[in-house]
């Protein structure tokens, strides 16, 4: 018996000894391969790259204090951003650069210097990738312009003056911008990234009555803009013209005495408004439009956090569901992944958890604590 015990103990100690210890030096994991349910969330000087199916951070990118957006180019193994850097963090000489991150290591591998004019705050519309080659960065000094970088040879091409127009929303060989004169402008680039010409839509909104957000979301044919009163416009460039669709409203006036099929009165909702830093998102594969909403206030509350998410079918142009958010934390940004089974991601306004829902059913799938961030972007 003694011999058996001794033999067993020997085996156990040997098997323990066979396990290797961690090295004292350590190493790094590669980032992994993003799929349709990965997205990024931007915090202060950092972007989290998140797998929405796992609800886990897969890696991070180190940004400047003035880097509002990412522009992924997964096929090239890169993620672009831009930022401003001072020699003494808050003061000293300023350098603005387009940052090129390697998708495998999540490290910056290149910098392309651009004029020190880039918008220090904003949303995903501050940067755009045009024809998988040219990066446009929106500038404001407060004169408005766009810096163009050629990623084929990582070179600053030039600056295009775009007075009174904001955003870089790529379409074919150019980009759309929302303008203060009530139009959308299209700037077309040539093969080296210089402006060829620009087209302008007819006037379809006024700044004083019902301006569109300076934020837009992609559609198969162009971009979707929304007004502060909840009008939906789809903008496309076709046959040498910028075409704007007839608008439809996400919140038409209540019908007096309206009831559902069972005769239950429908709650009036005329006083609800769209708002947020990223107030809406669109998934073309499911015709799903979601908007952050809050009750009360005027147009000037268009950046306020929302207490509900409304979801619409852009096919029927009717509301599908209403998602109540926590009254304490609210929501400041919404995003939908681009696939046919989209995730709905909601960033909290007041330090709450990041919410990941099923976009179609609205069911809560998971939450992520301690993601202190406000802007959500697809990683595609």
């Amino acid at each position: 018996m003694k011999h058996y015990l001794a033999a067993a103990l020997f085996c156990v100690t040997q098997s323990i000894a066979a396990q290797s210890y961690d090295t004292i030096i350590g190493d790094s994991l590669p980032l992994g391969v993003p799929d349709d349910h990965w997205f990024s969330v931007r915090g202060s000087e950092i972007a989290y790259l998140i797998d929405g199916d796992e609800g886990s951070v897969q890696g991070t990118l180190t940004l400047s204090m003035f880097s509002p957006a990412l522009e992924p180019h997964l096929a090239a193994g890169r993620i672009y951003s831009y930022g401003s850097f001072y020699t003494r963090t808050f003061y000293g000489d300023r350098t603005d650069v387009v940052l090129v991150f390697d998708l495998d290591s999540a490290l910056p591998i290149k910098e392309i210097e651009i004029p020190p004019k880039s918008a220090g705050i904003g949303h995903s519309g501050m940067i755009g990738l045009i024809e998988d080659r040219f990066i446009g960065v929106w500038n404001i000094t407060p004169a408005m312009s766009v810096s163009v970088v050629d990623t084929a040879d990582d070179r600053f091409v030039g600056e295009i003056s775009t007075p009174g127009c904001a955003g870089v929303y790529p379409v074919d060989a150019g980009f759309l911008m929302a303008c203060g004169d009530g139009r959308v402008q299209y700037v077309r680039l040539d093969s080296v990234g210089e402006e060829v010409d620009r087209l302008r839509s007819d006037v379809f909104f006024t700044v004083s009555d019902d301006p569109v957000f300076d934020y837009a979301v992609p559609t198969p044919d162009g971009w979707m803009f929304m007004s502060l009163e909840g009008q939906v416009y789809e903008v496309a460039v076709k046959d040498g013209a910028v075409n704007v669709s007839e608008p439809w409203s996400i919140n038409p006036p209540d019908e007096e005495g309206a009831a559902d099929l069972n005769g239950v009165p429908i709650d009036p909702d005329d006083h609800w408004r769209i708002s947020g830093r990223q107030a809406f998102a669109y998934n073309a594969k499911t015709n799903l439009l979601v908007t952050l909403m809050h009750e009360g206030g005027g147009q000037e509350t268009f950046e306020d956090p929302g207490t509900q998410v409304w979801a619409f079918s852009t096919k029927t142009r009717r509301r599908a569901y209403v998602l109540e958010l926590d009254e304490e934390t609210k929501g400041v940004s919404v995003e939908l992944t681009a696939d046919a089974d989209p995730l709905l991601i909601i960033a909290p306004a007041e330090g709450g958890e990041l919410l990941i829902h099923d976009g179609v059913s609205s069911r809560l799938l998971r939450t992520m604590p301690e993601i202190n961030a406000s802007l959500v972007q697809r990683l595609e």
């Binding site: 204090m65 003035f66 401003s84 001072y86 963090t89 808050f90 003061y91 000293g92 300023r94 918008a119 220090g120 705050i121 904003g122 404001i140 000094t141 407060p142 004169a143 408005m144 003056s161 007075p163 009174g164 127009c165 904001a166 955003g167 911008m177 929302a178 303008c179 203060g180 004169d181 700044v207 004083s208 301006p211 569109v212 957000f213 300076d214 000037e300 509350t301 268009f302 950046e303 306020d304």
Partner: protein, 197 residues
């Protein structure tokens, strides 16, 4: 055509294209029209309108010119009758404020805290002073070049507009014209009566 309209027309033709949208908005809104007329009377005489929506390097000089020139007498800051806690977001001047109140950071409502630099361009709001019942044009200048103060955060948004309409947008980092665009805090300077005409 009235002198006022002639001034507006002259302005619209001279102004830098970056601010064209802003001018149209002002021209179409009576509470702001008089302000533009006032500024227009001064700057047209100078031969060039500033290229930026609200250049306020020397607001006091502008006030003196305006007083001696056209219709809208602008009260010196010390003539203003006001009461309340200027470290509170509810204070009347902060109706279109967004940021951190400089009075909480070693500065005042009109002067930046020590070591920070005043941005020479600003966004504007029209706020109602409950003590005298008048509306005033408020210039919100950022103070820049130091780390964010982090105290007395305040976001109100009277008249707020998207960034392509910069003079009424508080969604822009307004540290223009300073050596660093690192945000520290924001002032709220009374630059004129909004309804003077």
């Amino acid at each position: 055509m009235s002198t006022h309209n002639a001034l507006l027309k002259q302005l619209l033709s001279d102004i830098d294209a970056a601010t064209t949208g802003a001018v149209r908005f002002f021209a179409g809104h009576s509470s702001r029209r008089s302000f533009l007329g006032k500024v227009g009377a001064v700057v047209t005489g100078m031969g060039a309108f500033p290229l930026l929506p609200m250049a306020r390097e020397d607001a006091s000089a502008l006030a003196q010119n305006a007083n001696s020139g056209v219709t809208n007498a602008m009260p010196a800051a010390n003539e203003l009758q006001e009461m309340g806690d200027n470290q509170s977001c509810d204070y009347w001047r902060y109706c279109a404020f967004s940021g951190q109140i400089c009075s909480c950071c070693g500065g005042s409502m009109t002067q930046c805290p020590p070591g920070s630099e005043t941005a020479s361009v600003a966004w504007v709001g029209t706020c109602h002073n409950p003590l005298d019942g008048q509306d005033y044009l408020i210039s919100y200048n950022d103070c820049c070049g130091k780390s964010a103060c982090g105290r007395c955060g305040c976001h109100r948004s009277e008249g707020d507009r998207p960034v392509y309409f910069p003079s009424k947008s508080n969604s822009i980092l307004w540290c223009f014209g300073s050596n660093s665009h690192a945000y520290h805090c924001t002032l709220a300077r009374v630059v004129g009566k909004a309804d003077a005409g």
